[in-house]
């Protein structure tokens, strides 16, 4: 990797043209991120100017009166992502640990392939599955026993109609498992064998070796993997939109409908009639973009510290 520029730094005219052209293509990426940020900001400016910081903390979303506050969707985005992480992290880390530490060799490739396949399912297919399979299943087999035992907590108040924070969180969880698992696997693979051997030689059991020697070594990368999954969950649109209920409300109950920023844009953008309505939705988009860019940047920095430079997570399938 380091010696390539030596070979390819050209002085020949053809070399200069070639390098210039490739640089132009490469410039497209930073240009893209700046352009996205720029146009979102410019288009969100009327809403930014009119509502100021109150946009973030007020709950009125009234296109008729032209008053917009995004607090419920910001809350819903964070809440559904949190639920998703609660479910997805144990699953994804288990997959990664299983694949790197416990699995027999012949089983590795098939299991990794199947989990990566989850990332290939289009989100609208997840949404369809959520509406017609997951929600009826939750209604019949999961919510009644949950309510019977934990019904007194604030998280399970109200009647379960189907579309809910719970359904959205579960769909999100399944969707982000392959991303977290793929990156976590790369991270664990980067842990030197000597770490495990040392722990085993000291008399640790296999699990103790994993817990005390492997996981701590890859901690930064594993946290990066989880944050990467969080980034996916925050911005995921269709799977959530189709099952979360799309209601502008802040509530702690998992059984009640909620709203996310991405869902609001998906539902309302093409129906927005006034300039201010569009602008408010653009501001929602701007918040979502800045949030996910920040989350992804943090995740990448953590992951790169462990598995340097590899495009981990983008190679599923």
């Amino acid at each position: 990797m380091a010696s390539q520029p030596l070979l390819l730094h050209g002085t020949d005219r053809g070399d200069r043209i070639y390098r210039g052209a490739l640089t132009g293509f490469a410039l497209a990426l930073p240009a893209l991120i700046l352009v996205i940020l720029g146009v979102l900001f410019v288009n969100a400016w009327p809403a930014l100017k009119r509502f100021g910081p109150s946009f973030l903390v007020t709950s009125t979303w009234d296109p008729v009166a032209e008053v917009y506050g995004a607090a419920p969707m910001i809350f819903g985005t964070l809440a559904s992502s949190f639920v998703a992480l609660l479910i997805a992290v144990p699953l994804a880390l288990s997959v990664a640990i299983f694949l790197t530490e416990f699995s027999p060799r012949w089983l590795r490739q098939p299991v990794a392939f199947l989990v990566e396949l989850l990332a290939a399912i289009p989100s609208v297919v997840y949404g369809t599955w959520g509406i017609f399979v997951l929600i009826p299943f939750l209604r019949a087999h999961v919510v009644p026993p949950l309510k019977a035992v934990f019904g007194w907590t604030p998280f399970l108040q109200g009647v379960f109609y189907g579309n809910s924070l719970l359904a959205g969180g579960i769909i999100l969880a399944i969707m982000i498992v392959p991303y977290i698992a793929a990156v976590a696997r790369e991270v664990l693979l980067a842990v030197p064998m000597s770490q495990r051997e040392a722990a085993l030689a000291m008399g640790a059991t296999r699990w103790e070796a994993v817990r005390s020697a492997v996981l701590p070594y890859g901690r930064a990368g594993l946290i990066g993997a989880i944050i990467l999954g969080l980034g996916r969950a925050l911005g995921e649109t269709m799977g959530v939109t189709m099952v979360i209920g799309n209601r502008h409300d802040i509530g702690l109950s998992l059984l009640q409908p909620a709203y996310t920023m991405a869902a609001a844009i998906a539902n309302e953008f093409s129906e927005a009639t006034t300039a201010m309505y569009h602008s408010a939705l653009m501001e929602v988009g701007l918040i979502l973009f800045v949030l996910t860019v920040a989350v992804n940047a943090i995740a990448r920095i953590l992951i790169w510290r462990v598995a340097r430079g590899a495009a981990v997570g983008s190679g599923a399938l």
């Binding site: 490469a26 199947l114 289009p122």
Partner: protein, 282 residues
């Protein structure tokens, strides 16, 4: 009394079982989704499903011919826009990307890879729909192309990096200029991998819905004009699955199965292309 050693071994066994169970749960989710797709979608798929356009709500029958053609056009056009830029950027990263700028580009690509696709839809709307005054397939293609570029840049880079150094050195030693070495030797050798990356990118965006909602918009009629609103399979599934009619739900499952099949077929071809050259990617 259980001895300390037994307890520790028991704990180890227990955690192993837990890890295996949870891993199985993740795989189970996949099996369930695929099983439901087949069970609920396969029975509705027949020749008419592929050859007819949708019928008005309330009537039975009709197909998704317009959506299949629409998907091909929107995705094909997005590949035309996205592939040259994405692959070019990837070649840059592999050939010249070890400096600061390369590092920054790589970082931006990774960050963009995690950007919500719905936001990219807004960008397509701002640049194409707003100035032209109407929704269009082209706007959808531009949005999908933007999604594709960072993905392709990173996979291309990875594939080109797999080319053995000795090949490059041999070409240079024979007096080949560097740009020709890069194009004729390095890129040619990595071609299988690059094509794979492109196919995976295409498969990814083919399943996208969010960036098309207010760009390509959807269209109940058959059209091939990219300046018009156009239907895609993903948009069709969204409308059918969230609609009120039983008949629509049936069609949603069938269309979902077709879309899933399409994505899988492209992905499998992608794997097959690489297998020819390198064996498995990872």
């Amino acid at each position: 009394m259980i001895s300390r050693a037994t307890r520790r071994h028991l704990a180890s066994r227990l955690m192993t079982v837990l890890v295996v169970l949870l891993s199985f749960l993740a795989v189970l989710a996949l099996i369930l989704i695929f099983g439901n797709l087949l069970a609920k979608g396969a029975s509705s798929i027949d020749w008419a499903f592929f050859t007819k356009s949708p019928v008005p709500a309330g009537q039975t029958g009709g197909g998704v011919a317009n959506a299949i053609v629409g998907t091909a056009i929107v995705v094909g056009l997005s590949a035309l826009i996205g592939v040259p830029i994405g692959v070019g950027a990837g070649m840059y990263l592999a050939e010249y990307g070890s400096g600061r700028f390369g590092y920054m580009v790589r970082f931006v690509a990774d960050v963009l890879n995690g950007t919500p696709s719905i936001v990219i839809g807004i960008v397509g709307w701002i640049f194409i729909v707003k100035p032209s005054g109407h929704f269009s397939a082209l706007a959808g293609s531009v949005a999908l192309a933007i999604l594709m570029i960072p993905m392709l840049a990173r996979t291309t880079e990875e594939m080109v990096r797999l080319v053995p150094h000795s090949l490059r050195e041999a070409a240079l030693a024979l007096g080949y200029p560097r740009w020709r070495t890069s194009l004729k030797i390095v890129a040619r050798t990595a071609l299988g991998g690059i094509v794979t990356g492109c196919l995976v990118g295409v498969a990814r965006v083919a399943g996208e819905t969010a960036p098309l909602l207010f760009t390509a918009l959807g269209n109940l009629n058959f059209t091939v004009s990219v300046s018009q609103p156009m239907q895609t399979l993903s948009l069709q599934i969204y409308v059918y699955a969230t609609g009120p009619f039983e008949e629509w739900h049936r069609l949603a499952w069938a269309a979902a199965l077709v879309l899933m099949g399409l994505v899988l077929i492209i992905s499998l071809i992608a794997r097959w292309v690489t297998r020819q050259r390198y064996g498995s990617i990872r």
